[in-house]
Symmetry: C2
Subunit: 454 residues, 2 copies
């Protein structure tokens, strides 16, 4: 009775899958501040040109350079598991498979793109990368990748997280990352905010602004983003490509594919190769799961919006709650984002994905069941995928239908145990947004252009 | 270029290797308080009889029951890695292989025996297990295993660790473990200590006494120990047995085998199958690595001593610093034990192993080099094995000899980052024990019987 299917290093994909080549509806272009399509040279102070080219590519298959594959081989191919203990607990007519992305040194899927981005920056002659981090998953992954390729790494961490999660900062420092609380005295924007609001807890919007300011002022420094953008989705497709090989070995094919969705990259990583199968006629139910506290795909609008709170980034055509929307402080920090990857948004708009949202108590309930049967402690973000698996299993039982479910176990929760503690004490609230609250956030996109495919 | 060698679930060993069948010198028997050999029935209130039989077995190969193999398959066989990035950094004529035991849900090798012990207790009709934990690795592993088999788990955690490491407690609670600070009001011994010293930080000795008291008073409750004893060494041999298959696939055989040694179980798990090869004539250098702050094998005595501080356990023939020896609070909490597994001790005494001790700054230095090249952040205990690998690589370079090194990467350090932070700030002291300090600890074994093989 097989529990997991492992692949040798040699089976690590040699190419990424770029869904831009197969979209039923073409992407709406990003727009600059003048509402005109962004040109590569508009971005060249922020990203290296080799990554900008990848961001705009419509080639279906893109070779993975060998030095990237060598580093990915430290934990990839990741194992595909059959969750037999969880199946028994649910007592439903379902087979449950999952990809375990928690086996990476940083504990999540994030290093899949961190390794690739650092490699391309190094190839382009860049010496230092800057980024922002909220909960700390992305800052950790980028610090690790930079240490492996010998680049400097500067992480602007939202001050309240910096203070509340000292272990994440230590983790980055072990990998040589320079992690500072944002706002910081290291940038003009940071100094300005500190002058006006010396006690501010900071925000992701401020941290992004500082990281970009730091990047653009030096010719050997660039900025790096851990989700949302096309090239990040691309780098994550190793997850789904491996899963397809492993599912074939298991002799199974999924009826349902599930992933939690924050910026969209872990979901896309598993889902995009299956989306291609669906475009080609396969009958698959593909479900991105978002928090009830941040329901972009289920209650937001498909619109042009800024990627950051301050409105400094280009406009992206995506599902959004409006860049002024501030999600409640749920424990799944990685899912607290007002927008969604344009590629994921495009495919939701085209009806290829069926999004759902779930409250955090239901998610933790599923994650505790999981830990006590399958052993692994899930990241708060990942618990959203688990809760959707439970919901789909219940539905299959009610309908008396056999189903094969595949989901992305995107990371472990060993650095984020406080949410479990509060759940077990009964202290967690579910956030139930009113229509008025949703409408209020969406005010901030009024007056912006509308996507053509809308 | 292969980075790691993975094995399918079907290659998980079907038997454990019991080195008791192959010892050059037989073991000295454990002695009771009257200094007479312990009989199985003396232990039956503490352990179930099926485990007591295993503890005393001299059968060479012992079948692993299928339900244990099914749970172990959640992470086993663990991958064997070739540490190519670290090799490049060291620039020495060495090939370095390691077993990654950090892939278990609890993050270390501890679940290998936790799963087995919980299974045997369940088979024997036991409903609840008690144990003590210092740093928390063992309490976590046992909580997880109990949740998988539906047993209650009560963990007495040394109070100062309970207060300083709230995340370990949360981890146990996610798995349903009931973790209380020791001394606790839940036992007579705990109440006595609390009455006399209400502000005591607790100790492993007190916690053991509480866990045993809790176990022996109920017919469906037993006690569980995570290292030192013969059956624990046995359960860990899956590590070395898998490594032998994987090294054969790599087409290599180790000249040097290394593991850190606290109670001795992760070291034994890798080393015992290779010790058999050595007994059969192979030329291998097998090195248990202990902290300079707790040098039992390198500066202690081979003698009869109690396993606990209070002197309540049977006398074991082992290397010891005396049960009154209190190790300094180095960060590798799992290596702070006055004694050493009797089986490991026996083989050191017979000259089969070559122990060394290393100070913690050297260990953290190696662990930071490791994290920045191989990615994974090592447990403070594991860092001792890493420092020995560095030392052996340097020696090989000086001697101009090519060497193949295999070591046990026993666990990750994501729950223990404070030591790294202090190391990076230059705040860590090395403990350099004087001969007088060693002699003082050894006072506590004066008057106890001497082992025959001494």
């Amino acid at each position: 009775m097989t529990t997991k299917i492992v692949l040798p290093d040699s089976e690590l994909p040699k190419q990424w899958y770029n869904i831009a080549a197969d979209l039923p509806t073409p992407m709406d272009p990003p727009l600059n501040q003048a509402h005109l399509p962004v040109k590569p040279e508009d971005l060249e102070k922020v990203f290296p040109m080799n990554i900008i080219e990848q961001e705009m590519s419509t080639e279906r298959w893109i070779d993975i350079p060998e030095p990237i594959r060598e580093k990915l081989a430290l934990w990839r191919p990741s194992p595909l598991y059959r969750a037999r203990n969880f199946e028994k607990l649910l007592d439903a007519p379902v087979k449950i498979y999952y990809k375990n992305e928690g086996v990476s040194p940083a504990g999540s899927h994030k290093p899949n793109t961190a390794i690739a981005q650092v490699y391309y920056n190094k190839e382009f002659g860049i010496k230092k990368l800057t980024t922002e981090t909220g909960a700390g998953q992305w800052g950790s992954a980028l610090s690790m990748a930079c240490s492996m390729f010998g680049l400097e790494c500067k992480v602007y961490m939202v001050r309240i997280s910096f203070d509340q999660k000292p272990f994440r900062k230590m983790m980055m420092q072990v990998w040589g990352g320079n992690c500072v609380p944002s706002p910081s005295p290291d940038t003009a924007f940071g100094r300005k905010i500190l002058g006006e609001y010396p006690d501010t807890p900071g925000s992701l919007g401020i941290a992004i602004s500082e990281a970009i300011e730091d990047a653009v002022q030096d010719e050997h420094t660039r900025y790096s983003l851990g989700s949302v953008l096309n090239h990040v989705m691309l780098h994550q497709t190793v997850i789904g490509l491996e899963a397809q090989k492993q599912m074939a070995i298991a002799g199974d094919y999924p009826d349902v594919v599930i992933g939690c969705a924050g910026g969209g990259s872990n979901f896309a990583g598993l889902a995009f190769p299956y989306a291609l199968d669906k475009i080609n006629g396969k009958d698959i139910d593909i479900i991105p799961v978002e928090p009830a506290a941040c329901p972009r795909l289920t209650r937001g609008e498909f619109a042009y919006d800024h990627g950051d709170t301050a409105g400094m980034t280009p406009l992206l055509a995506m599902y959004t709650l409006g860049h002024a929307f501030v999600p409640q402080p749920i424990h799944a920090g990685g899912l607290r984002y007002h927008g969604m990857a344009p590629m994921v948004s495009r495919l939701v708009q085209d009806g290829l994905f069926r999004p759902m949202n779930i409250g955090q108590n239901e998610c933790y309930k599923a994650a505790v069941m999981w830990a006590r049967s399958e052993g692994f402690i899930s990241a708060p973000e990942t618990s959203h995928a688990l809760a959707a698996v439970v919901a789909e299993a219940r539905k299959a039982k009610e309908e008396g239908k056999e189903k094969t479910i595949l989901f992305n176990w995107s990371g472990h929760g060993l650095m984020d145990l406080v949410g479990y503690d509060r759940y077990l004490r009964g202290e967690l609230n579910d956030v139930d947004l009113t229509d008025a609250e949703i409408a209020e956030g969406l005010q901030s996109i009024k007056g912006l252009p509308k996507p053509a495919g809308c």
